[in-house]
Symmetry: C2
Subunit: 396 residues, 2 copies
């Protein structure tokens, strides 16, 4: 049901609108804010004074005079608050202390293996404690990205196979422990939010990020907001069947996209290549086929090993087919490939593009931009920071 | 940029909110409206009086007394306005006069063939004139659904291959001629809107409708609104490549989904079956293989012809694979199959379901409901009516 706007709603809306206006400008005067927002100078001044009191905003000089009295300029203090961002990736837990602009101030990486659900949880507590001890500003909150189905409204891990978490009320548990705002969402969804917030041009409101790592997932931003889906599972493209009678997947089905193009799948394939073709560069770079890891595959790709290049092209074909469905269904023009395998760069992008061009209505394919993400391994952490900045402050 | 709400915006918002509240209830009192909307009784009364003056609302008796003075009840007059809905389908142009509840009052079907763009346009004018002459209430506006890329904001036909229209400012032309509000959108998108407005439960806000007819398209409702995509091409799943080296499609690519599962493709396949298997029921139902049309295929399916059933199952497999991508990407639980081929009913739905179950993350597949639409051949017309009701009156 549509609701009437209350006075309290308006106050919060106005306060956020003013802070966002300052955040979006390098420096701006009270009059400038009033002009841009249409709010009265009294409302602007009251709110700005409050922000200054909270050390969120400072006065930073005066504007060049244009006749009248020069206006005092305001800007947001980038490290007025610290944010804790966490990425519970499959192979390692990562965390960082981040400022209000997404600058990473401190970073922790912890390799994790053979964990059960309780062990994983204990590690999360420890990681947060360590990060909090590194932060030296008031903490805005903690944002967490994890693979699997995460309920961002309740802050619950509904189903995370890797972490062995099922219907875990992680948000409540962490709020209880740390007395801070806690936000939790799917890692690929957060990566899309990071791409949207920190690197995409302002005129783009729709975006799909493909997270091509140990798993394969996507995050979808529509109309400037993450689209979560009915059960928070939007973007779970890693489990679409692409090969009848294919390999069994962790999800229980067979022939899922993830079984063919995840970094796990590629390492397996590269080891097979190394065993089959003694002359492959992979064998020059690795002591034995069993020692081949993603890093060695990247090096062999850069060195131009034919079998590895063919493997990358094949990843591009499978991924391109999946992207053709996404583009056809949503007609979203900005497609960004991120995650550890985005390092295959232009070779991968070109293979994807060929497939999208052949497999999508030409009028849509023509408008589609497929690029590799620049965010690197921090993308989930930055997405968690973006979620916090949006929910707690309304500035992104 | 977020905008401040102006007083004029509020007035329009309140007026629409009040009308929608009356529309959503069979009968409701002014006090009831005030209670539900949080608006003052003065605001409610002023607006209601205006609606009564415009014959949109009437007083319809009194509520059972609960102590005090019995309250006068209000309801929307269902045929206070007439709407013109038009479906520019591939094989025929359809139009109808519709009331404010989506009841169809008059219907026109015109078979059309071998037309060029100008001829098609002349037919649209004629169809509208005929429909206007059938309506006997003030006309709210004209809504048009057509295959291809339609810009609903400008009311322009950007690219409609079947109609031979390219960058045609149809909305401007019709507004000029008929002096009425004109809305134009893609036919499958409108079908989804109709399904959402007229048949879906109120608690469902996301829905995908697959339009399986002469072409194959989808319409996607997210958060209660049609999602159009960056170039208004959202839902163009008929042109995803599903067969390498497949048949050439109207779009210029090869092996598109549409070349395999559209009614056009099925007629072709059924004729091949009839030539190959003399004993097929198709040959009992048709004078010659060349005379087989969709109707005969439906009858052969109902009679249990093995080759036709296998064909329907295959359609279900291809469609199911496409739906698996949609469900995986968007995690939308309500999937509705409409269009002329929805008549294959349960056989088709079951084949689709099997494929979705095998090709989607089990946690998402479990929540997915795949059903056949009940709207029949009126779905695009009803979608056009819904677009009008939403844009012009704010009631749906």
């Amino acid at each position: 049901m549509i609701k009437k706007t209350t006075q309290e709603d308006s106050k919060i809306h106005n306060s956020r609108l003013i802070l966002k206006t300052i955040y979006d400008h390098h420096s701006i005067s009270r009059v400038g804010i009033s002009r841009l927002t249409g709010l009265t100078r009294t409302t602007v001044s009251e709110n700005v004074n409050q922000f200054i009191k909270e050390s969120l905003v400072i006065e930073t000089g005066t504007s060049p005079s244009s006749g009248g009295k020069p206006a005092i300029l305001l800007r947001v203090v980038d490290d007025a608050r610290h944010l804790i961002g966490i990425d519970l990736a499959s192979s390692e837990f990562r965390g960082a202390v981040v400022d209000l602009r997404g600058n990473i101030l401190h970073r922790i990486h912890w390799p994790v293996q053979d964990r059960d659900g309780d062990l994983a949880l204990a590690l999360v507590y420890k990681l947060i404690e360590q990060l909090l001890s590194l932060a030296d500003r008031p903490i805005l909150g903690i944002g967490i990205g994890a693979p699997g189905l995460m309920d961002p409204y309740q802050g619950a891990a509904l189903n995370a196979v890797n972490l062995d978490w099922h219907a875990l009320p992680l948000g409540d548990m962490l709020r209880e422990q740390f007395k801070l705002p806690i936000y939790i969402a799917n890692d690929s969804q957060l990566a899309a939010l990071a791409e949207y917030t920190f690197t995409t041009q302002k005129n783009i409101t729709n975006l799909i990020l493909i997270n091509l790592s140990q798993g394969v997932g996507a995050g979808i931003v529509l109309g400037g907001k993450l689209f979560y889906g009915d059960n928070f599972g939007a973007g779970e493209i890693g489990h679409v069947r692409v090969m009848d009678g294919g390999e069994r997947c962790r999800c229980g089905n067979h022939g899922c996209l993830e079984t063919l193009i995840s970094s796990r799948a590629l390492v397996k394939r590269a080891r097979d290549i190394a065993r089959q073709y003694p002359q492959t560069i992979l064998n020059q770079l690795s002591l034995s086929p069993d020692a081949i890891d993603p890093e060695i595959i990247f090096q062999a790709c850069e060195a131009g090993d034919a079998a590895v290049l063919a493997m990358v092209d094949e990843v591009g074909r499978y991924l391109g087919s999946a992207i053709a469905y996404l583009v056809s269904a949503l007609n979203v023009n900005q497609i960004v490939i991120g995650g550890s395998l985005a390092r295959f760069g232009d070779r991968l992008i070109q293979a994807v593009k060929r497939q999208v061009d052949q497999g999508t209505l030409p009028a849509l394919a023509r408008e589609t931009h497929i690029i590799a993400s620049d965010l690197g391994e921090d993308m989930v952490i930055l997405g968690a920071a973006s979620l916090l900045l949006g929910q707690e402050m309304g500035v992104v």
